[in-house]
């Protein structure tokens, strides 16, 4: 186990505070959870910001990147799409991508292309709970990170959420 429930909560509060430092009222900021696993983290941060830090009207969308991935027809498994739910335009907004684990950076590359369908953002930041160090295929780094992890390629980082998996925890699974 990398993080237990308490450690996840501490990290979430810290990430929320770091977001407030940079975005204050979130007036021109939109949060975008990356499907499928980033949406739990995004929902958590949103409710944390609203309940504990009394910030109102936070805009949150879900972005699915399936049709923008660069491994279409190259991976063995067929790619399965998820729902995109963005009911706002990101033109001139500050976008914060939220995902649970940053690994090769290819999903974020796809998300950078996908978000363009909704306008030209003023800037885009990246928030991840887990940053797997030394494993990037692309020059992409997070602006906010919960925990940095050194994991070799064969290992897998699994983030569990109470809503989906029954507990809040992060595991390092070696196969």
């Amino acid at each position: 186990m990398l993080l237990n429930a308490t450690e996840v909560h501490i990290a979430l509060h810290r990430l929320a505070c770091q977001l407030i430092e940079n975005h204050e009222t979130f007036e021109d900021t939109v949060l975008v959870g990356i499907q499928p696993r980033g949406i739990f983290l995004a929902e958590r941060l949103k409710s944390l910001l609203e309940k504990d830090y009394k910030i109102r009207n936070i805009q949150l969308g879900y972005l699915d990147i399936t049709f923008f991935r660069d491994d279409f027809r190259r991976s063995q498994k067929p790619l399965e799409a998820n729902t995109t739910h963005i009911n706002f335009i990101v033109e001139n907004k500050k976008v914060v991508f939220i995902d649970d684990v940053l690994y090769t950076g290819r999903s974020i590359r796809a998300a950078l292309t996908a978000i363009q369908s909704f306008g030209r953002p003023e800037e885009i930041e990246l928030l991840t709970l887990i940053d797997r160090r030394f494993s990037r295929h692309l020059p992409i780094q997070p602006d906010y990170r919960g925990r940095q992890v050194d994991a070799i390629n064969k290992e897998k980082v699994k983030v569990c959420w109470k809503e989906q998996d029954g507990e809040d925890a992060v595991y390092l699974i070696s196969s």
């Binding site: 699915d64 399936t66 049709f67 923008f68 279409f72 027809r73 190259r74 067929p78 790619l79 399965e80 799409a81 998820n82 729902t83 995109t84 335009i89 292309t113 996908a114 363009q116 369908s117 909704f118 306008g119």
Partner: protein
């Protein structure tokens, strides 16, 4: 399972119920995509698609072309009217010449039933049938069922009547197969001369009287009278056809319930349906057209994902 069981879409006959549901779920995602400010995804950017139309078409051809472009595929168009087919080239030669220009997928409309099946046995490309004679028109049936699903939540258990020229209609046959696979009840209605002799052998009852049929159904799919395919006279006059099998507002309002009216287009206004019906809230004709693009994107995307990526 999230892969089609087939490598070509030649007809509804050849695909499974699970395939249809997969196409619908994928189409849901593409429907969201085509309502974005920028309606395009890069999935098929290394795929080239040839649209081969050996027979006239406006809607289907535009719909396919738009679907291909929204998926970022490269598209070449071909119509028989202005080609070497007129000089006597065979179908396989025509298509092989086009394929030697490195085309990955072929969308084909052809006047001969079975042209797609024939081609799939002789060439190495993924084929989508966009209508083969009076045989099948699978993407039309898929978008019709998808539109029913959207309007009435589900296709299973719904009662659908297909009205009009069943004999010459590829839309009718594909619709019957698709609706039956999805668990709907299907009847046909129209002049006896325009009903195929063996229709009841595929489990489709015939209803002679339009009013009875409409009172029974949840959805009425009104087919176009295909004058261009009628080599002999199947009914005395168009006026008589309209009186017996045309739907007007007064008839719809007298049913005591609201049914969904569909039409695959192009409409002969005042023949199969009157203008006030075509433009009414009950008609989902324009939704069908919009859903057509999403359905075709889904079909092309799912078939393309089965084409092996070539490293060269």
């Amino acid at each position: 399972m999230s892969e089609l069981s087939v490598n070509h879409l030649l007809g509804i006959k050849y695909i499974s119920e699970a395939d249809i549901h997969l196409i619908f779920e994928t189409a849901d995602h593409f429907k969201e995509v085509i309502n974005r400010p920028i309606k395009k995804v890069p999935s098929l950017r290394d795929i080239t698609i040839a649209n081969l139309f050996f027979e006239n078409s406006t809607r289907t051809r535009l719909s396919f072309e738009l679907a291909e472009k929204r998926l970022s595929a490269d598209v070449i168009n071909f119509s028989a009217a202005s080609s070497s087919v007129k000089k006597g080239e065979t179908l396989i030669d025509t298509v092989n010449n086009i394929l030697s220009m490195k085309v990955d997928m072929v969308v084909m409309r052809h006047p001969n039933p079975g042209a797609g099946v024939f081609l799939s046995k002789h060439i190495n490309a993924s084929i989508v049938n966009a209508g083969d004679g009076a045989h099948e028109h699978p993407t039309q049936a898929l978008l019709d069922c998808y539109s029913i699903r959207e309007k009435l939540k589900d296709v299973a258990g719904k009662k659908v009547v297909i009205v009009g020229d069943i004999l010459h209609s590829r839309v009718a046959l594909s619709n019957i197969f698709a609706l039956q696979k999805l668990g709907a009840e299907v009847k046909v209605c129209g002049p006896k001369t325009l009903i195929p002799k063996y229709i009841e052998n595929i489990g489709v009852p015939y209803e002679k009287d339009l009013r009875t049929a409409l009172e029974w159904c949840d959805v009425a799919n009104m087919l176009r009278v295909q004058n261009e395919r009628m080599d002999i006279s199947y009914f005395p006059t168009t006026r008589e056809y309209t009186q017996q099998y045309g739907v007007n507002k007064a008839l719809l309002d007298s049913l005591g319930k609201e049914i969904v009216v569909m039409h695959p287009g192009p409409i002969n206004r005042g023949v199969e349906i009157t203008s006030d019906v075509a433009d009414s809230k009950q008609a989902i004709i324009l939704e069908q057209v919009q859903n057509g693009v999403a359905i075709r994107m889904a079909v092309l995307y799912l078939l393309a994902s089965k084409i092996q990526h070539n490293e060269n």
